[in-house]
């Protein structure tokens, strides 16, 4: 399917994807509860900061950081690895391959279709943040907000492409779910989701600059909380774009090679 045709099909695919995302109301509620980890981390770290600040983080900074983290995680979430894994092993990927739309586009649109639902949760949290902490808790620089918007998309792209790559590995590994678990553990720690990257020991912080995880969550959060000047912010954005390109290329190569091994089991 050409890019133009995909764009034309986009509204319908998003609409159907959204209908799927909200099909189970109870599951939706559980999912909302499952995304509250930053709130727990906020409680934990503010308790620590009550004794004495940790680096530049006092109680208000921790509250701001984890509320923004919550929003960023909502806006960059993707879960294609599980879907692809399941469909490769069960052979149901065959049904996607029969349609004139690239399956990786289709998974991406399915993931994006859940975004309005995610906004339903993210927007009240953003309003709460502004209400409780005041507008100066976050950056007031419009240029950084512009970069923040771009970085959210970049963060989502990296998250989705890593998911797709891990899913595609199931062509070669029979199941790549263990690899997904390893990725997820690294992602939780290294992205700044549980601990701000600024609080990492120096060597780990340097390492995180050259790993993709920080660009999924930490970098957008740091942009919104005003950590960077324009130059540093653009440099980080370039690195984020580099990771997008890297994972895009890797996913495309592994997909092409993997498809030759697809056995379309069952049926």
């Amino acid at each position: 399917m050409s890019v133009r045709a995909t764009v034309r099909a986009l509204p319908t695919l998003m609409k159907v994807g959204f209908a799927e995302a909200v099909a189970y109301r109870a599951e939706m509620l559980v999912w909302i509860l499952a995304t509250t980890m930053p709130v727990i981390m906020m409680a934990l770290w503010t308790a620590v900061a009550r004794e004495a600040p940790v680096g530049r983080f006092g109680e208000p900074q921790f509250v701001t950081y984890f509320l923004v983290t919550f929003i960023v995680r909502q806006m960059t979430g993707a879960y294609a690895a599980w879907e692809i894994n399941y469909e490769v092993r069960q052979g149901t990927l065959a049904l996607r391959l029969l349609r004139p739309i690239h399956p990786l586009w289709h998974y991406a649109l399915n993931n994006l279709a859940a975004m309005p639902l995610r906004l339903l949760i993210a927007v009240p949290v953003a309003l709460l943040l502004l209400g409780v902490m005041g507008r100066h808790a976050v950056t007031t620089d419009p240029f950084l907000w512009l970069l923040f918007a771009v970085s959210l998309f970049g963060g989502w792209l990296i998250t989705y492409l890593i998911n797709a790559l891990l899913g595609v590995l199931s062509f070669f590994m029979e199941s790549s779910l263990k690899a997904v678990n390893v990725y997820f553990a690294l992602y939780m720690v290294m992205s700044g989701y549980l601990i701000p990257v600024e609080l990492f020991p120096r060597w780990l912080r340097t390492a995180s600059d050259w790993l993709p995880f920080r660009y999924q969550i930490g970098y957008p959060v740091e942009l919104a909380t005003g950590v960077y000047g324009h130059g540093a912010a653009l440099e980080m954005l370039a690195r984020q774009a580099g990771f997008v390109a890297l994972f895009w290329a890797a996913t495309a190569v592994f997909w092409r090679q993997g498809l030759k091994r697809f056995a379309a089991y069952g049926g």
Partner: protein, 335 residues
């Protein structure tokens, strides 16, 4: 429309015996076996033909259909479907074909089939007017009614299969690959699906390739059959000739006026089944007329002359090719 030349599809399959020790051993050392799912088949199918693709379980039927629809890359050989090489999966090719797998579903599980139809409309780039006309036609032919507005998971198997067929045909494909489309359905639903497939073929001139273990499907839909076994072609031709070749005898089905003992019937021909006033006899084709006139003397209320059931014909064909293969293997060991 479809041309297949010396098609082969071989898989490497990991083999290990059962048990804990074998499981641990397989972590360090794996043995693989080559399975020849399709092993050098050649055939052509013309536009608008309806062809039954038959064979026992594991014969290579589904693998062949998956190669033809571009899902699997062949190990070797050439495949052409309406001017396309399927493994390239070009959009123009995908818009011309459909593959319906009776054991897999494309319907969105949690949503009504109407949503899947709408999604396919967007993906295949169908205009709204064409889409409305096609859905109307499919709804009438398949008697879908309000089914399309119920979540797919709440539909019965038969209802779901009707909707699956509709979803697979929204883009009006010219080539239909149907893999066990009536599996698990009751007799009346099988008939509905069969009638629909035939009507679609006649109305749209679509080419149809069907696999099914229900011989009624094949008999009703396919004037031509291709039989494969262990990945190799064992018959390609019209169904009647196949029956003639494998079971040249005819079946006389007698409904008698009063019970007749088996000894009296056995003088007419081989008794296939007999219960009080109904008997089925097998007689040579050229003896049918004579046997019928002798049977009438027994007091017959109704009489029909039939071919042997297709199930029996196929079972005979498969056992013959198995025996031939064993014979060949013995000869190979002997040399």
């Amino acid at each position: 429309m479809i041309a297949v030349r010396d098609l082969r599809k071989h898989y490497q399959v990991h083999k290990r015996p059962p048990g804990l020790l074998a499981a641990v051993r397989s972590v360090f050392h794996r043995t693989y076996q080559t399975v020849k799912a399709v092993d050098g088949i050649t055939f052509d199918i013309g536009a608008g033909e309806r062809v039954g693709f038959l064979g026992p379980n594991g014969a290579g039927k589904t693998t062949t259909l998956k190669v033809l629809s571009g899902l699997l890359h062949p190990t070797s050989g050439e495949v052409n479907v309406d001017g396309h090489t399927p493994r390239r999966r070009e959009d123009a090719f995908l818009k011309k074909i459909t593959l319906v797998m009776g054991q897999k579903q494309q319907l969105l599980w949690d949503l009504p089939p109407a949503e899947t139809f709408e999604m396919n409309r967007a993906i295949y780039g169908i205009s709204r007017a064409d889409f409305v006309a096609t859905v109307k036609q499919l709804t009438e032919l398949l008697e879908l009614g309000d089914l399309v507005n119920k979540p797919a998971r709440q539909l019965s198997l038969g209802e779901r299969m009707k909707c699956e067929l509709a979803a697979a045909l929204i883009h009006r494909p010219r080539v239909l690959f149907l893999d066990e489309p009536t599996i698990g359905l009751d007799v009346s639903m099988q008939a509905v699906i069969r009638n629909f497939i035939k009507a679609y073929n006649e109305k749209n001139g679509a080419t149809l390739m069907l696999t099914s273990h229900y011989m009624d499907d094949v008999a009703a839909l396919c004037p031509r059959v291709i039989v494969i076994d262990k990945g190799q072609l064992s018959y390609d031709g019209d169904l009647d000739t196949l029956v003639e070749r494998i079971r040249p005898e005819k079946r006389l089905v007698l409904h008698l006026e009063k019970p007749v003992d088996a000894a009296a019937l056995s003088t007419l021909g081989k008794v296939v089944s007999h219960d009080a006033v109904r008997a089925v006899l097998q007689v040579p084709k050229d003896a049918v007329a004579a046997t019928v006139s002798r049977a009438l003397a027994l007091g017959v209320r109704d009489l029909t002359v039939e071919n042997a059931p297709l199930e029996e014909v196929m079972s005979e064909l498969f056992s013959r090719s198995r025996a031939e293969r064993e014979e060949q293997a013995k000869r190979a060991v002997g040399t």
